[in-house]
Amino acid sequence: MERAVHDRGGWQTDAAIDRREHELADWEVLMDSIVGTLGQSGVMNVDELRRGIESMPRAEYETASYYERWLYSVETILAEKGVLASGELDARLGT
């Protein structure tokens, strides 16, 4: 049975587990609070958050950090719901 990229319990790997502590950057704390606020206000639930993360292309998923995956999902789900226009974030960032 082929697995989705996130469904990795029991995958064999020779890579060492990175046990270093990670200090959160400001944007990561903000990302967490945005998801909390979206949930409390009924805009987006945690199942949608997870579904959005699971929709990431495999290569992007593999290289993205924890909160980068959240950001990808929030942008995807909010665009899908019409809360954000497609490309709106990029336009505001001038990228």
Binding site: M1, D7, G9, N45, E48, R50
Partner: protein
């Protein structure tokens, strides 16, 4: 609730495209119901803009590590516990 504590169950081995909470490593594996948690909205529809109703019973299921991995190099008697929704469980001997 279809199952109760102590009952032997098997996790359905079926494929499911889209969001679901049943990990691949448990599909087709046999375990024992440890306890019934409660009913919760179904993430398989709740993840797609629907209300997730009707709520589905969620169970805490206990697995012997040998039953999950086949060969298990850890301590004999080690167990693994996972939350599994009722529609992913089947009766087993």
């Amino acid at each position: 609730m279809r199952y109760g504590p102590g009952q032997t169950v098997r996790v359905a081995a079926r494929r499911h495209e889209g969001h679901h909470r049943t990990p691949a490593y448990l599909k087709g594996k046999r375990g024992t119901v440890e306890r019934v948690h409660a009913r919760f909205r179904n993430p398989e529809t709740h993840a797609y803009g629907l209300d997730g109703l009707p709520e589905q019973p969620l169970y805490l299921v206990r697995f012997e590590q040998e039953d999950v991995w086949g060969e298990y190099p850890g301590i004999a008697g080690d167990r693994l516990y996972a939350d599994v929704f009722e529609h992913w469980l089947e009766e087993a001997e």
